[in-house]
């Protein structure tokens, strides 16, 4: 034991520490990736071919790179929301529904809010704001249930996800809501395409590299959330309520207010993620809009263990994994479900390793 401890104290230099909270996630990802490769071999696809298709789909072209980055922004926003709520010991698994209501609100305002002619970028800022508000309300709903009747937020945000996803389905099915005017029975159940002015501007203006302004926005939000959690009294309140609600109450911190703000904040970020997807990439609202991105963002938040840079790293990883996975399916006939398997393994491994990490960190 002592030699191990000595070894440890030697490793623990002032500048560089190899902490378990860093290497365990990396080990989990490596383990899951190894299983993924073994599965590719098992289904009879050449592993080098699959890897080539994966790399092509991620960084093979400027277009692929941009698609991965845009996707990573969506995951990161949901992930920041998860970390924010989790600081108050709340588990928000409602990203999927928050994305859906954000998408609905953004579509409604972009199409029918008469915003297309507004100056100064208001044409896309107002739909974004609408999405943020819709997401915040969706998140606050779970918070109110928790404060009023003690409903576990995991169950309520999860049920709200299903409700949000079906609400979106309703909106695109019903001509009275957001479905485009039915000219024939073959009219698809989707909204009209939003006007050009309401679409998010591209960073470079080059359609070959369509990264939109969601990327700098996400980085800005990363900074804001990071500072909010680490440097402000608000961050202290969240942590206090998360660690001990009773003690926090004695210290004059309102439990109800903190829970509502935390979950509404997480919901707002989820709603914004939906706005980026709709205004930035898809431009029409369709059934299945949220595409599981809410769960990817949740996993990114889990992986990060509460760190904002960690969320960014995990989101980039998943952004690239999704893009690479899609290309593997098209080029190398490897089903995208493989990526889902890898994600599941990562979550399970990390959940199982949490005790080990805690013990280790307490010891050092």
């Amino acid at each position: 034991m002592t030699t191990l401890d000595q070894q440890n104290s030697l490793d623990r230099g002032p500048r560089f520490t190899l902490r378990p909270s860093l290497f365990v996630p990396i080990a989990a990802v490596a383990f899951a990736a190894a299983v993924g490769l073994a599965l590719i071999a098992a289904i009879g696809v050449s592993v080098p071919d699959a890897i080539e298709a994966f790399v092509d789909g991620t960084i093979g072209s400027p277009y692929a790179l941009a698609a991965s980055l845009n996707r990573a922004c969506v995951f990161a926003l949901v992930g920041f929301g998860f970390v924010l709520a989790n600081r108050a010991n709340l588990t928000n698994v409602g990203g999927e529904g928050q994305i859906a209501v954000g998408g609905i609100a953004a579509t409604a305002v972009a199409l029918y809010g008469h915003v297309a002619d507004l100056p100064l970028g208001l044409a896309f800022i107002l739909p974004m704001l609408a999405a943020v508000i819709a997401g915040a309300l969706w998140g606050a709903l779970a918070a109110v249930l928790k404060v009023k009747s003690g409903t576990n937020e995991v169950i309520s945000t999860l049920l709200l996800s299903f409700i949000g996803v079906w609400l979106l389905y309703w909106c695109v099915q019903s001509p009275a809501l957001l479905r485009k005017p039915m000219t024939s029975s073959a009219t698809l159940p989707e909204s009209l395409e939003i006007p050009d002015a309401t679409q998010l501007p591209l960073l470079t203006g080059d359609y070959g590299f369509p990264v939109h302004i969601g990327l700098p926005l996400t980085l800005l939000i990363a900074l804001v959330v990071g500072v909010l959690l680490a440097k402000t009294i608000f961050g202290v309140r969240l942590r206090a309520v998360g660690l001990n609600p009773v003690a926090a109450h004695r210290a004059g911190i309102s439990y109800a207010k903190t829970v509502i703000v935390a979950l509404a904040g997480a919901g707002a970020l989820g709603g914004l993620a939906g706005a980026l997807m709709l205004l930035g990439e898809q431009h029409t609202l369709k059934d299945g809009f949220s595409s599981g991105y809410g769960f990817d963002g949740l996993v990114a938040g889990l992986l990060s263990r509460g760190s904002i840079p960690g969320v960014i790293a995990a989101s980039l990883l998943f952004g690239f994994m999704r893009s690479g996975g899609i290309n593997m399916e098209m080029v190398a006939a490897v089903p995208t479900a493989l990526v889902v398997v890898i994600q599941g393994l990562i979550v399970i491994t990390l959940a199982g390793a949490a005790l080990f990490i805690e013990k280790w960190e307490r010891r050092t």
């Binding site: 309703w170 099915q173 089903p335 889902v340 890898i342 990390l350 959940a351 199982g352």
Partner: protein, 305 residues
């Protein structure tokens, strides 16, 4: 609404409630002992897939059912290991298992059936119980159900008796309410909690098999579509009691059955609203009608000696 239509509605409510009921009772027993399995969804999906493949490959739905039951054992052991031995967050680990099973079953399904799908899969037989089944109109419409449901009701009755009248039932209850006392009495809390998770997995496997080879005789990717979460909601709604959980499941089943019934009656309600209804009811149920104090005292908390 005519009697005939009402009987059909009642029959389909029971049919749609059946998988929730099977999974819900298993989860209730597990939660009584203090273990929350968010992975019920994944366990159901695993069995829905394995039993469909088993029935398709062997041509015998009974073999399919057995394969479905066996396929869930490793999943429930994994959940039990994570929850009890590694003391992992039960919600996170459960969701992880659900993601893994969704990916794995989709992958395996594509490999076995290809993207075309809709292979003919032999299903479990329906039976009409004597007496009840002979009632005119109501008999065939309401009571002619897949035999697995009747078998499941038998298991649920036995479960109720075990919980109420045996020392095992007491141990399960105590493991959730006062685990230290169980420990002091010489029983292992960990063993009880492993047992209940495996039981929840067994019940979820019956529920999954009911979905694929009992009800619609096919497998579709991610076919549980949140049924596992509804089962968990029904436990909360039913205040961790067998009778309450059963009623909650029937209510969710009836809400789902309305989807098919109302359009037949010419009532014009948006389809999406009807699909949403069980989730909406579940949200209202967990949000307003029951208090927190009803939950087993140590629900979701790993036990540490």
């Amino acid at each position: 609404m005519t009697w005939e239509l009402f009987a059909v509605f009642l029959g389909s409510s029971i049919r749609l409630a059946a998988p929730l009921l099977l999974a819900g009772i298993g989860e209730m027993v597990s939660e009584r002992a203090g273990v929350l399995n968010m992975s019920i969804e994944g366990m159901m999906l695993m069995s829905a897939f394995a039993s469909a493949v088993g029935a398709w490959a062997t041509g015998d739905p009974l073999v399919g059912l057995l394969i479905g039951i066996v396929s869930v054992v490793p999943v429930s052991l994994l959940q039990a290991f994570l929850s009890n031995t590694l003391r992992a967050n039960q919600i996170v680990s459960g969701i992880g298992i659900n993601i893994l099973v969704l990916g794995a079953t989709t992958l395996a399904y594509r490999e076995i059936f290809g993207a075309r799908s809709r292979a003919e899969i032999p299903g479990l037989a329906k039976i009409k119980p004597p007496l009840l089944g002979d009632i005119p109109i109501i008999g065939p419409a309401v009571f002619e159900q897949v035999w697995l449901l009747y078998a499941g009701i038998g298991i649920i009755i036995i479960t109720a008796l075990v919980l109420r009248f045996t020392s095992l039932g007491l141990a399960i209850h105590a493991a959730g309410a006062e685990p230290k006392a169980v420990d002091k009495s010489g029983l292992s809390v960990t063993a009880v909690r492993y047992g209940v998770v495996v039981f929840a997995g067994f019940m979820a496997s019956l529920a999954g098999a009911f979905l694929s080879i009992g009800d619609i005789h096919t497998f579709t990717e991610g076919m549980t579509r949140g049924a596992g979460y509804l089962a968990i909601a029904s436990v909360i709604f039913g205040k961790w009691r067998i009778g309450g959980t059963t009623l909650a499941c029937l209510l969710f089943g009836a809400a789902t059955a309305l989807q098919f019934q109302l359009p037949a009656l010419g009532v014009n309600v948006p389809n999406a609203l009807l699909i949403m209804l069980p989730y909406l009811l579940a949200l209202l149920a967990v949000g307003g009608l029951v208090g927190r104090q009803m939950a087993p005292a140590t629900l979701g908390e790993p036990y540490r000696r």
